[in-house]
């Protein structure tokens, strides 16, 4: 079930109504009982949400949850089975991910390497969101092992943490330490939460069905036949893709955050204006924040981080980004994208070391603008690998741009609309934050006062505009496939 579908609107409406009704139970039952009822209800609805297209994947998620539950309880006992339980708790999600997502890829790659045909490929459908909930399950076991959180004795709470429908299929990847404590608080539907949550949701919907889906028409066409288009058109298609993937994914994250907010839960922001980054390191602090912080905490630091010398630091960075690339999809183009960013991070680290720049170096305006433009161009080059179906396809795109080839000129109007939307949104949030004397990193949402007529007018206007401009296509969210 996609957030941008009519089914989801109906589904979510039912969830909201039942959760709101649960508030009335507080006067009749103990708060713990009410919470338990809410959690069971949310868990059932999360499984319905996940099993909407295919119920059988629910069993996979349930099996993973049971393994995480049992192993973490054993780990928490700190007895002689702790190590074995940890290994089981970590290896199980990885094996599931490996079989469903990477088995055929590696078998095919080895077969190609040995110039033979593979006869052991599995005909498996990739379960939606598997990369997300396996990572959550993994981090939960690791955090219990590290003693950062307590093992959950309540199975419902753990199952809800892994399957919570707003963030289930495409993130943000939520840490147990952020989410599980919220289950012990009285969180439910309230007017205050609805006021904010609905606005965040509609913003995400606009990003997805108006901007990202419309850009996909142009991007798909140019990436399918890059050699047929002029150099400038291909450049515009690459710029369009950079905006499409940003609006598609951040739109999904907004809808997830908004849905959770309506239900009374807080999910951390996943994007923070990534294209204003002045270097690649900063980009990864602003892009898919939940994944980059996950990779940092559960991969880069365990590999040794920057504690084992200069060479190891660079190797660790490259390994982390390579695996981060592979996480996005079982294809060598994703590996190349990860490698590209890994090298970018190493070069930036080296540059900082040579220039002896302090950690909090801010720089002056003109060099900062140049750095931002250069970083954006670097990221766009990376997106070519990310979007291309193959290396040959990526090569065609690069060749089209750098040989200044002639061809069909198509200046897609929604590209310019999207650029304008990005600029307007950035400027409005910056001005708002300046006015409120806040740092840009605090909150990227502008809330309208829905208790005032002008606020309601602007909000309903935005909803009506979204309905009028929406592009109805069969474009699923880009990150669904990861």
């Amino acid at each position: 079930m996609s957030f941008s579908s009519l089914e989801y609107i109906i589904f979510f409406g039912i969830v909201l109504v039942v959760m709101a009704i649960s508030n009335a139970l507080k006067s009749k039952c103990k708060i713990e009982t009410v919470q338990q009822i809410r959690h069971v209800f949310l868990l059932i609805m999360s499984y319905i949400f996940y099993g909407w297209a295919d119920m059988k994947f629910c069993f996979l998620m349930l099996a993973l949850t049971i393994v995480s539950y049992v192993t973490s309880l054993i780990v928490a006992k700190r007895d002689k089975y702790e190590k074995a339980a940890t290994v089981l708790g970590v290896v199980t999600p990885l094996v599931i991910l490996g079989i469903f997502k990477y088995f055929n890829f590696f078998v095919d790659s080895f077969a190609q390497l040995l110039h033979t045909s593979s006869s052991v490929t599995l005909s498996l459908v990739l379960p939606v969101g598997i990369s997300f909930y396996t990572f959550q399950s993994l981090s939960y076991t690791i955090d219990v092992k590290r003693g950062k959180i307590e093992a959950q004795k309540d199975f419902i709470n753990l199952a809800l943490y892994i399957s919570f429908f707003p963030q289930l299929v495409a993130g943000p990847i939520v840490k147990a330490e952020d989410f599980i404590p919220q289950l012990h608080e009285d969180r439910s539907v309230s007017l205050k939460n609805l006021e904010k949550g609905l606005q965040i949701f509609v913003l995400g919907l606009f990003k997805k069905i108006v901007i990202a889906d419309r850009l996909s028409i142009f991007v798909d066409e140019v990436f399918e036949t890059p050699s047929a288009f002029s150099a400038l058109t291909v450049v515009l298609a690459v710029i369009s893709y950079s905006i499409q993937i940003y609006f598609d994914f951040s739109g999904y994250s907004d809808m997830a955050i908004g849905s959770a907010k309506c239900l009374g839960f807080d999910l951390r922001r996943n994007f923070n204006f990534p294209y204003i980054s002045k270097n690649v390191s900063e980009f990864w602090k602003r892009w898919h924040i939940s994944l980059s912080s996950w990779l940092m905490e559960y991969l880069y630091i365990p590999l040794g981080g920057n504690r084992k010398g200069v060479a190891r630091t660079y190797i660790n960075l490259v390994i982390t980004m390579l695996l981060g690339g592979l996480w996005h999809g079982a294809s060598w183009t994703f590996v190349a994208w990860g490698l590209f960013h890994g090298i970018g991070l190493c070069v930036h680290k080296l540059y900082k070391k040579i220039r002896k720049l302090p950690k909090d170096y801010k720089g002056s305006t003109i060099p900062n603008i140049i750095s931002t433009v250069c970083t954006y161009i670097f990221v766009c080059f990376g997106w070519i690998f990310f979007r291309a179906e193959s290396f040959a396809n990526a090569w065609d795109v690069f060749r089209a741009m750098f040989t200044l080839q002639g061809g069909v000129q198509h200046y897609y109007i929604w590209t310019f609309v999207a650029i304008a939307v990005v600029i307007v949104r950035f400027v409005s949030v910056t001005l708002r934050n300046k006015k409120a004397n806040e740092a840009l990193t605090t909150d990227s949402y502008i809330y309208l006062p829905l208790d005032k007529t002008w606020g309601l007018t602007l909000f309903s206007l935005f909803i009506m505009l979204t309905a009028a401009l929406a592009y109805f296509s069969s474009n699923p969210f880009i990150y669904f496939r990861f």
């Binding site: 028409i217 061809g407 069909v408 109007i413 208790d451 309601l456 007018t457 309903s460 009028a468 296509s473």
Partner: protein, 343 residues
């Protein structure tokens, strides 16, 4: 929250919705606003649009204009000039996606100067069977002196529709009536209606009409086309006009800079048997057949411009753009001029 507060908030929300709805109507008036259509009582077409109404399209192409006193998209009103050439076509020739002056009819008029006047009665969803069913009424109503043009973008025809046209049982393309027609006049509701239809189309399972993917025309196909063309021949002879069918295929890009020629979605070379049969039946019934394929290909090779698609759609997909209308107008002009010389 007290009851009084709830009532107050609901009143605020109502006012907000009314204001935003009014603003959106203003926006939709310029964004996507084709006049409402209703049954054409003289049966020359299935329906016609409201006369003298402003239209706008920013969803596919960017165009503004207004319908004439007859409810079609022409530069001149009906009655201002005698009609020499009558153009019957689909939404491709309805030309709401381009300026009225860029339509095939308008460009033909410029090319002919004062010699011939072309009048378009094209509207959405009309295909050859509908033209045949409406032809006599159209010829009676508009009285073209020399030619009648039929625009087709597909040589494949759904057998049932063809047979119904031949048996005079083809149902009229529906037009909204009563409240539904009135609601169509509210610009934002019309936009929402289009959006809802797009959403429904997305959910629907696509069906393919036409060929059974064999490259040989079936007997049924040949009989149907033969029947339709015979009717065209008879009626055109009766009203002393020359029929011209012009076929305008779609082009899609390949990565090696070549293009595919498509009959809607099907590569034309995969249905060449149907194509050959269609062309030979045109010859049999004294209908001039104009195939735009070579002209479109030549234009693409010279300018890298495809005849369909706009700056807000996929290249090569959808309706004819100004370039497409120009190429067709020039080719029709050349065909008619050539015929005049040889005559």
């Amino acid at each position: 929250m007290k009851f009084r507060q709830i009532i107050l908030w609901m009143m605020k929300a109502f006012v907000a919705v009314v204001i935003s709805f009014a603003i959106m109507c203003g926006f939709s008036f310029f964004y996507d606003n084709v006049p409402a259509h209703f049954d054409n009582l003289n049966n020359s077409t299935d329906y016609k649009y409201e006369s003298n109404k402003f239209y706008s399209k920013a969803t596919e192409g960017i165009a503004f204009g207004h319908t004439n006193n007859d409810g079609f998209n022409n530069e001149l009103d009906l009655g201002e000039k005698d009609i020499d050439i009558l153009l019957m076509g689909s939404s491709q020739e309805e030309a709401f996606n381009v300026k009225t002056s860029e339509s095939t009819a308008a460009q033909l008029n410029r090319l002919f100067g004062n010699n011939y006047y072309t009048y378009s009665i094209a509207h959405s969803s009309q295909t050859l069977p509908y033209f045949v069913r409406n032809l006599e009424s159209a010829l009676k109503t508009y009285k073209p002196k020399s030619y009648v043009l039929f625009e087709v973008q597909s040589i494949l025809i759904t057998p049932e529709i063809a047979q119904n046209a031949l048996n005079n049982t083809l149902e009229r393309l529906s037009s909204a009536k009563g409240i539904a027609a009135d609601l169509q006049k509210v610009p934002y509701l019309k936009v929402l209606y289009h959006q809802f239809n797009d959403y429904k189309a997305l959910k629907a399972t696509p069906t393919v009409a036409g060929s059974d993917n064999t490259n040989t025309a079936t007997d049924e196909y040949t009989q149907n086309i033969d029947g339709l063309m015979q009717k065209i021949e008879e009626l055109c002879a009766k009203y002393n006009v020359t029929p011209i069918i012009y076929y305008q295929p779609h082009l899609s890009l390949n990565n090696d800079k070549t293009v595919n020629v498509l009959n809607i979605d099907t590569p034309l070379n995969e249905i060449s048997g149907f194509y050959n049969s269609y062309v030979s039946l045109c010859q049999k019934h004294n209908i001039i057949f104009v195939d735009m394929t070579d002209d479109f290909l030549k234009n693409y090779n010279e300018k890298q411009i495809l005849p369909h698609g706009y700056c807000n759609t996929k290249v090569g997909v959808g309706h004819l753009n100004a370039e497409g209308h120009r190429i067709i107008a020039e080719r029709l002009y050349a065909t008619i001029e050539e015929k005049a010389v040889t005559r």
